[in-house]
Symmetry: C2
Subunit: 121 residues, 2 copies
DNA sequence: TTTGAAAATGATAATCATTTTCATTTGTGA
DNA sequence: TCACAAATGAAAATGATTATCATTTTCAAA
């Protein structure tokens, strides 16, 4: 188990929202930070292990990371133009919790996205 | 746009539940079917386009496919042993619809998965 | 039946994110 | 200073997915 390089976390913070490992790496390069891609991957992974960062997936399967701190939310995405609206998931949170309880699962997380065609398209 | 090779759909049916493109391909090879990996990918993709098949993602980001025909449901997956429970998503359905209405989206679909550690693990 | 355009196919190469290897550097306590 | 563990990163390996492109199949019109 390696400890996370603090500059990786700091960069992810500044990235605003989401960022993939590749993006974090490129960002650090542009800012003149000297770091290897391997270390970026390792650091993000251990941040996930430590539950400091959430791991999500882009539509194409690429892993993206976001600070846990930020308010948990979901997305409403337009399949045509890609426009995204951040939405609350109150109902989901309860649903996830009750389903997990009902089946004896612990350490529970969830994903939920809504997609459709927006009014402009 | 290519049409789906019917043997691919037939194989996915027999795969029982989920299968990745690679798995469908290997399955067909074992059964002596002569088909190219490319065609498997293309067929699955057009089945998804035609809404005959759902596209989901494994924990590691790999794309997996499942027949839509089956009653719409969601999954509660154990991150440790992979055990999966199919669950109802009544609350989700309403949530997705109301969120979409509220923001003027139409042709709406959604994904929702819950993951955690099961009681056996 | 012959013909030709369009669709389908699949071998191969290209992409690209992620992981593995492994040699080197850095930190740290005795 | 010394010995040893942890961290680092360059380079190669891996593996899924996609792009190319030449060949084959389909099929309707002539
Ligand atoms: Mn939520
Ligand atoms: Mn649902
Ligand atoms: Zn739109
Ligand atoms: Zn389990």
């Amino acid at each position: 188990m390696s400890r996370s390089n603090p500059r990786v976390l700091s960069t992810l913070e500044r990235a605003g929202g989401f960022a993939s490992a590749q993006e974090v790496y490129k960002l650090m390069q542009r800012e003149g930070e000297k770091i290897g891609l391997t270390t970026v991957y390792r650091s993000l992974q251990s941040l996930v292990d430590d539950k400091i960062v959430d791991l999500l997936r882009r539509e194409d399967g690429e892993a993206i990371y976001r600070l846990c701190g930020e308010k948990h939310h979901h997305h409403l995405v337009c399949k045509s133009c890609g426009d995204t609206v951040e939405i609350e998931g109150g109902a989901i949170e309860k649903w996830a919790k009750s389903m997990a309880d009902e089946h004896g699962f612990r350490d529970v997380g969830h994903t939920a996205e809504i997609f459709g065609i927006c009014s402009k398209c």
